[in-house]
């Protein structure tokens, strides 16, 4: 089809009247009122004192002494986290992108498991694994490797492990998005042109996958700057990060000015990094559509060429050293599969150690669990505090998911189906809440809500969670709708169906998988959310994650393991359900 034939994309006569604007209005207004406006009004207080006069005091405070060193500390931790996350995620993404069959799907599910599991549950798992009476220390002492337990927890090491573990699923997914678009025939083509596997990887696959690596690094870095759960639960005061500092300033000192000033610094840094990224690779490479060009492209080509030559030389040397044995075709895949499996194990295994501990007879989170008892489940189910928190979380998550769908689905329709001016900036605007550090968004909502009396209310929670959930709904629905063939709708119109009937009988049945997935996504986002809840649901009217967070700071009782186990089972059920749905949707 030519450009003209494609441009002749048919128009629903009803849609002409309901073009983009009306469908997008709710989401644009919602995000402006509850995201953009609060953000800027909170940022403004960093530059004004109580009397309203312009002041640089807060910035002077922020740039000196402890605050500044925490800021630098955050930068360095985030850089390390980014480095390890990208290094560990690449082989997994590569394996997923280049393999086919059942095992691939299973690995993808395992990678997604921690993605859906609460960040708190995962942090608890690492506390259990690395603690003095934890899994690793007990095992080593029992095996006689060491006599005294090593200090594995509450240091930089444990913070890095926890954060890398938390961020890897997102990194894998964003790399996978790029890698899956790489034509598999390129491998064969390179082979017929005389390239050995090492050469093919470094000179063909890696350069094409690089934009995916870069965007994974970008997302990892920005998100890790706003993280507080892991450094707070797994680190010592020396690993304090800015998000903790901000919480401290608000919770303990009520110093809004300094918190806002630090937020501005984090935001400015994020924007600078995004701008550098854009300069080097073009922001389009986030979607994996653009290649590195110019000087940086040339530099990268020579680096990858050198790596290719080196890899080929090494593999030749190995082959020469083993002349009697033929190196099998699959050898290269095994070299890849083993580390991939280890990394996947690292992702999936830790949380499951919480399950046996939840049945312990002892009153500490320790390994191995002692005896068998259901007391911690009993404690959970009989405690009105836990029960209320759970019910509130479920209700808030249900309402959040419904609200996100209500404003997100029309927006996705407008973005995939109609053309209008300014479309190019609408999607980035809607996705901003994903990129902006959570802590800052939560803080600004707190500031805004305290002025309009929404703090401590469930509606406030729903609004806050919807800000974070709706971008995921829009993304999922766009993915669903962009593969939906609109000619089916047109066929229905020409066959006599009205637009409404067409939507009911044709469109809806075909996109319902996307609907359900979006709903689950939004539900889980809200159900797990702790940042907004931290500020907006104080006191007794708390959510489940907030309750877990508070509990973890008071006493690490096995109740947490019991709650975690329930959450893990729930996640597994959700994933299984969505996989079954997907398969039914594909008609297998």
């Amino acid at each position: 089809m030519s450009a003209v034939d494609q441009l002749a994309r048919p128009v629903n006569p009803f849609r002409i009247k309901l073009s983009g604007g009306i469908l997008l209005l709710p989401i644009l207004a919602f995000l402006f009122i509850f995201f953009i406006y609060p953000l800027f009004s909170m940022l403004a207080i960093s530059a004004f004192d109580r009397s309203g006069a312009l002041t640089f005091d807060f910035y002077r405070q922020a740039l000196g002494g402890r605050t500044w060193s925490i800021f630098l500390n955050t930068l360095s931790i985030s850089l390390w986290v980014t480095l390890f996350t990208v290094l560990l995620s690449y082989p997994v993404a590569y394996y997923l992108a280049t393999s086919k069959g059942r095992s691939t799907n299973l690995i993808l599910i395992i990678v997604l498991l921690p993605f859906w599991t609460s960040a708190l549950v995962r942090a608890f798992a690492w506390m259990l694994l690395l603690g003095r009476n934890g899994v690793i220390n007990s095992t080593m002492v029992n095996l006689g490797i060491t006599e005294v337990p090593a200090d594995l927890l509450f240091n930089l090491f444990s913070v890095l492990i926890g954060m890398v573990h938390a961020l890897m699923p997102i990194a894998v997914l964003s790399m996978l998005a790029t890698m899956q678009n790489i034509d598999r025939n390129l491998h064969s083509a390179a082979a017929t042109l005389g390239a050995e596997p090492g050469d093919t990887f470094w000179r063909v696959f890696f350069p094409i996958s690089f934009p995916g690596v870069a965007s994974a690094a970008l997302v990892t870095f920005i998100v890790s700057m706003g993280i507080f759960v892991q450094p707070s639960l797994l680190g010592s005061p020396r690993e304090t990060m800015v998000a903790q500092l901000i919480i401290q300033q608000i919770d303990e000192l009520y110093n809004w000015g300094l918190a806002a000033a630090v937020s501005v610094m984090v935001l400015v840094l994020s924007v600078i990094i995004i701008l550098i990224f854009d300069k080097l690779l073009g922001i389009a490479s986030i979607s994996g559509t653009q290649q590195a060009g110019g000087a940086s492209g040339k530099a990268m080509r020579s680096i990858t060429a050198a790596l290719g030559t080196a890899t080929v030389a090494v593999s030749r040397a190995i082959r020469r050293a083993l002349p009697q044995r033929k190196v099998k075709e699959g050898a290269f895949r095994w070299v890849l599969a083993v580390p991939t499996l280890l990394i996947v194990l690292f992702l999936a295994a830790p949380t499951f150690f919480l399950v046996p501990v939840s049945f312990t007879g002892s009153s500490f989170m320790e390994w191995p669990p002692r005896g068998f008892s259901l007391q911690w489940y009993e404690a959970y189910f009989t405690s009105p505090v836990w029960r209320e928190a759970t019910v509130r979380s479920i209700i808030v998550a249900l309402v959040t998911a419904t609200a996100s769908l209500a404003i997100g689905v029309p927006a996705a329709f407008a973005l995939t189906r109609s053309k209008f001016k300014g479309k190019a900036i609408v999607l980035p605007y809607i996705l901003l809440p994903i990129v902006a550090p959570n802590i800052i968004v939560a803080l600004s909502l707190f500031y805004y809500f305290s002025s309009i009396g929404l703090v401590g209310t469930d509606i406030g929670l729903v609004i806050g969670h919807t800000v974070f959930a709706v971008p995921y709904v829009v993304l999922t629905m766009i993915a669903t709708l962009s593969i939906y063939d609109q000619r089916l709708d047109q066929a229905a119109w020409t066959l006599g169906a009205t637009p409404l009937t067409t939507f009911r009988l044709i469109t809806l049945p075909m996109i319902k998988v996307g609907f359900v997935t979006s709903f689950l996504f939004a539900f889980v986002r809200s159900f797990d959310e702790v940042t907004v809840a931290l500020f907006i649901s104080p006191g007794l009217s708390t959510t489940l994650p907030k309750r877990m967070w508070t509990e973890a700071h008071h006493s690490v009782e096995p109740t947490l393991a019991a709650v975690s186990t329930i959450l893990i089972i729930m996640v597994i059920l959700v994933i299984t359900a969505s996989e079954l749905l997907k398969r039914r949707g594909l008609g297998r």
Binding site: M1, S2, A3, V4, D5, L7, A8, R9, P10, V11, N12, P13, F14, I16, D485, R487, L488, Q490, A491, A492, W493, T494, L495, G496, A497, T498, T501, L505, I506, P509, M510, G587
Partner: protein, 380 residues
């Protein structure tokens, strides 16, 4: 542009007169700077099979989609059965559309796909059942009624699409490259089936394709398009024998073009001179011309013959055989002229006809009346 009346000669059979079913009046579509369809007018008779033929980007799909009501025109009018239909939604136009990829509903069975338009018309179940079964019988898919579209082959899916379109008896059927995804053999078979269905239903068909053979086989009239406008509209024979310009001549089947200048006139003919070769006669160009003007003359390969002798009244050029191939029914002679132009002459294979030897000197002969000439803007 309407049919050029100058081209109406007794040799071609004009399309039978019919009542106008569909009238397109100065219809235009603009996408920003791009004019997808220049103001275009067209009439389609009741029961006629009219094909919109043209290369990609010629505006044929745009025109079809506007008739269907799936694309809004920038300006102009669409009339169906003498009533204005420009702003009617597609479901009120009494049309049926067969889409390029069939657009079968993947979640509905073959039966339900065909039943869909009847359900939309709120017919009772007994009628629906009878009609669906009747149509599935016609397209020979009764046994597949409970299958899902993806469980059918391409040709079967195509037949379901036809059945779904025909079951409610729309008076205009629009088809957008419906055979594009099928292989050659299936395509030939489906061409006959569609013709058959057209006769049986008596519906008016507007058919889009870029395949000239398909257009010639199936159409009552062909509307050849280029760059968002109509180049020529007429019966297949008119377009083939009296192309308005070089583009039409070239698009409709094999053609040889000889370049030269007009040296003189002789009643219905002009004398064409070529550098270093004997002059020959060609029919007068339709457009105005002057002596000494550059001209291109088109001859169909089957009108050219290769011989040793000469015959009175024929054009003759000396040539050298470069290749001679017997393809079955036809034998192709590839020859080279003095100015290095290569020409293909095609003749029936007979027991007496022998392939020519490579390098053999021959005379290329043809009738002046088979020589169409183009000048000026018709050369583009």
């Amino acid at each position: 542009m309407a049919v050029d009346t100058l081209l109406e000669t007794p040799r071609t059979r004009a399309a039978p007169l019919r009542a106008t079913k569909l009238r397109v009046n100065n219809l235009k579509k603009q996408y920003g700077q791009l004019q997808a369809l220049r103001p275009t007018s067209l009439e389609v008779g009741n029961g006629e099979f009219l094909t919109l033929l043209g290369p990609s980007g010629s505006g044929k799909t745009t025109l079809l989609m506007m008739v269907a009501g799936l694309t809004a025109p920038t300006s102009g009018e669409i009339w169906i059965d003498g009533r204005i239909a420009t702003d009617l939604p597609p479901q009120k136009r009494d049309i049926g559309v067969v889409f390029q990829n069939y657009a079968l509903f993947p979640h509905l069975s073959v039966y339900e796909n065909v039943a869909f338009p009847l359900r939309m018309r709120r017919l009772d179940n007994a009628t629906i059942d009878r009609e669906v079964k009747r149509l599935l019988d016609i397209v020979e898919l009764s046994k597949m009624a409970d299958r899902l579209p993806r469980e059918l082959s391409g040709g079967q899916q195509q037949r379901v699409a036809l059945a779904r379109c025909a079951v409610y008896g729309p008076s205009i059927i629009l088809m957008d490259e419906p055979l594009g995804a099928l292989d050659k053999k299936l395509r030939d078979q489906m061409q006959m089936e569609i013709r058959h269905l057209h006769k049986r239903l008596g519906a008016t068909v507007l058919y889009v394709t870029h395949d000239q053979g398909e257009a010639m086989t199936m159409s009552d009239r062909i509307c050849l398009m280029r760059d968002g406008g109509i180049e020529q509209l007429g019966t297949p024979a008119e377009l083939y024998h009296q192309p308005r310009n070089r583009f039409v001549a070239d698009f409709l089947g094999g053609a040889t073009f000889l370049k030269g200048t007009i040296a003189g006139e002789d009643e219905d003919f002009v004398i064409v001179e070529q550098h270093g070769q004997a002059p020959f006669k060609a029919l007068r160009p339709v457009s105005k011309f002057t002596k000494g003007e550059a001209v291109q003359c088109m001859i169909r390969p089957q009108n050219l013959s290769v011989s040793r002798g000469q015959s009175a009244g024929l054009n003759v050029l000396s040539a050298t055989v470069t290749d001679s191939v017997m393809t079955g029914t036809m034998t192709e002679h590839h020859v080279r002229l003095a100015d290095a132009t290569t020409v293909v002459a095609v003749e029936f294979t007979t027991a007496s006809s022998l392939p020519r030897q490579k390098g053999e000197s021959v005379q290329l002969t043809w009738r002046p009346a088979d020589t169409i000439s183009f000048v000026g803007s018709d050369l583009k």
